[in-house]
Structures are given as C-alpha cells and as structure tokens.
C-alpha cells in the first residue's frame, strides 16, 4: 500500500485496484497528519509512505529519532540535511511508525 500526499500535506490518498484515487485523509489521526507535516523538515518533498518499507531491517537509533519527533512536537522543527544513507533509514523508521499508528488508530 502506497499513500500519496498532496504537496501541502493536507490530503492523503491511495490508488485502489480499479485505479481510483481514494481519499483517506479522514482516516488518518490528526496527530499523525501533523507529524507527517513536520517530517518535511527531514525528507523535503520526498516523503514516501509505502507499507513495503515496514518490512525492512533498521537500526534502533533511527526508530528512536522518529519516535521522539512524533512524541515531542518541537523536536524536529527546522530543516535538516541528513545524507542519503541515514535519510533512507529514517524513512524506514518513519513508515514503521506511520503504519503502526494508522493500523492501531
């Protein structure tokens, strides 16, 4: 499952089996949507929400950083410049947290 986000991070959609775009914004908890907005400071416009990331191995520290950013609103508050490798790991951690919160909403 891939989720498509509008550039201003206000609309969340996915493409169903008939190639229809389904708006699921209301199904995403407000706190999680706000968190995705803050993730732009790390990923710019390259935020990918894709369940396949959740199956990837990761290191604890990246999961902690994402969890902290979710728990503490002002932890991630300005643009960062992570290099591609740590950024990829943060993306995996972000997806794991996103789908955990989404599935358990």
């Amino acid at each position: 499952m891939k989720i498509i986000i509008s550039p201003d991070v206000t609309t969340f959609c996915y493409i169903d089996e008939h190639d229809n775009m389904v708006d699921i914004t209301d199904k995403i908890p407000y706190r999680l949507r706000e968190f995705v907005k803050r993730m732009k400071f790390i990923f710019d416009d390259k935020i990918a929400i894709d369940r396949s990331y959740t199956e990837k191995e990761n290191e604890d520290i990246y999961e902690y950083l994402i969890e902290k950013a979710y728990e503490t609103k002002d932890y991630c508050f300005k643009r960062t410049k992570f290099k591609p490798r740590p950024k990829e790991k943060l993306l995996i951690a972000f997806n794991k947290l996103f789908f955990d919160k989404f599935d358990n909403r």
């Binding site: 290191e59 604890d60 520290i61 902690y64 969890e67 902290k68 950013a69 503490t72 992570f82 290099k83």
Partner: protein
C-alpha cells in the same frame, strides 16, 4: 581555542575513569574509593583506546575518581591533545587547582570544577580550600574554559535562597548547573527533585548515554557511568576492540537495558541530544 558550545553540539563525551581513587567522599557519588590505587595511567593502554577512537569527535572526560591524583596527568592530556578530533576535559573537585594549576591556564583543556559538596542550612560546604587557591573562590567568568559545575541536589533547592552572595558568584557563563542524577545510591533523593524521564528519552539515552565509560582499572567499556562501582545495579560492559568502539560511536553497541527501565537519570524533555547533533554524527 576550543569552544564549549561547538563541543556540546558536535562531540560525544566519553568518561575515562583513569583511577577510582578520590580524596573526597561525596554522599551522592558511588564512583570512587578512598583507597589510593592505580594512580599512574598506563600510556600504552591509553594510546590504544585513543587510536580506536581516532576518527570520532570525542570530548575525553578525564576523571574517575579525582584526576588530580593521577601522577602522569600531564602526559595523559598531551596524548589526548595529539588528535584534533579529541578534546580533553578535566573534572576535578579542585584538587587539580592545587596540583596542576597550569591546566587552568590552558584554554584548550576544558576544566570543570565540581567544587560544592552540598548546600546546608548553615552554609555551602565546599570541596577543597577554594579560598586559598588561585584563582581564589569559585571559578569566575573567564575565557580559559574553566567552569564551576554545580549539582542541583535536594538541599540546593531547600537552602540556595539563604546564600544570595554565593549564588551571585555562581550565576554566570562559566557555571554549569547539573541536575541531580541517578548516580546517587538513594533513589528517594532523586525523586525529591525530578520525575523519571519519558521512555523514549531513556531509550535514546541508552543508545549513547551521558556518558559511557572507559574503565582503566578493568579495561573495558562500561555502558553507563551512572551504574558504576558500588551502585547496586551495575552497568553492562564490553571488551575494548575497534569493532566495539565503532559500534558504540554509531549507536549500535548499547541497548535499552533492564536498568534503563527504572533509571532516574534526568534527561532534558526536549531530547537527550538535539536532532542536529544526531545529524552531525550520523552524517559522518
């Protein structure tokens, strides 16, 4: 000249417990023995450890015990200074002022003086004869990277207002105020001044605590300096190898242990380290 802010933002700190010997017995400290032992640092061992750490930006905190008791402290500092990635930091109870006063004149050494035992109703009990040792009294504002380190004990909150003159001498840019921490043998003391940190903060702290230790007596890496020596719960330890050092410096060696679950160490609610510090380290 080294810049404290730059170091705090971009360097990880590691305690080098050169010897456990101390000439004081602070009631909230468990990392010491009054027995005088291992007072000469094995420079070959030191060189090996520094070599393993050569590629990492480290604040090397030289302590124990009381570093002023170390007979070859000048040689140890000279060794640390050889690598521009490494910054020597000396934490003393003021004994260094007496025995190695030139350290206070070297702005490339962070000199941090834990010079107050505690606050009491009838006075502030100091560690050492500060008033007889130049620069006399508490460390005053300076550009030499000399700092007071003042622990906010339960008594600090209780009695500090009784000593406005002394507080004036402490309240300046060269004083570090430190939260009372989990090193105390009495958990109730900690509960008197702060609650337990959130689990995510303790997890982040576990990944690279404030601070891990190189134990020069047992010659191993110790996960956390707050669970040391006479503490009823002792920290995990690891062999000193290049592989373990690399793992440690990349947040892969230490795990969230059982003792972290009950740990009362103060962690800033805004984060163990700021995100920018992780960014700098993980991008290396």
């Amino acid at each position: 000249m080294i810049n404290l802010k730059e170091i705090q933002q971009n360097y990880l700190a590691i305690d080098f417990f050169m010897s456990m010997s101390c000439n004081k017995d602070c009631h909230y400290c468990t990392s010491y023995t009054l027995e005088m032992r291992n007072l000469t640092v094995d420079l070959d061992f030191l060189k090996r450890v520094l070599h393993y750490l050569r590629n990492y930006k480290i604040r090397v905190c030289l302590l124990g015990g009381e570093p002023g008791l170390i007979k070859n402290l000048d040689d140890v500092i000279a060794e640390v200074k050889k690598n521009p990635n490494h910054v020597p930091s000396v934490l003393s109870n003021s004994f260094v002022r007496k025995r190695y006063p030139h350290i206070l004149k070297d702005p490339d050494i962070l000199y941090v003086e834990h010079n107050i035992l505690d606050f009491y109703e009838d006075g502030i009990k100091k560690l050492g004869n500060l008033d007889k040792l130049a620069p006399y009294g508490f460390i005053q504002p300076n550009e030499y990277n000399n700092y007071n380190l003042c622990v906010k004990t339960p008594n600090y909150f209780k009695y500090k207002d009784k000593f406005p003159e002394e507080m004036k001498m402490l309240n300046h840019k060269n004083t570090m105020w430190k939260s009372f921490n989990g090193r105390t043998p009495n958990k109730d003391d900690v509960l008197a001044v702060h609650t337990q940190a959130a689990e995510i903060d303790r997890k982040m702290c576990a990944a690279f605590p404030m601070v891990p230790v190189i134990d020069f007596e047992k010659r191993h890496i110790v996960h956390c300096s707050k669970k040391f020596a006479n503490n009823p719960i002792v920290s995990r330890n690891f062999e000193i190898t290049q592989e373990n050092i690399d793992k440690m410096m990349n947040f892969r060696l230490f795990k969230y242990e059982n003792y972290c679950k009950t740990c009362m160490e103060w962690v800033e609610p805004k984060g163990h380290f700021p995100l920018s510090k992780y960014e700098a380290i993980l991008n290396e």
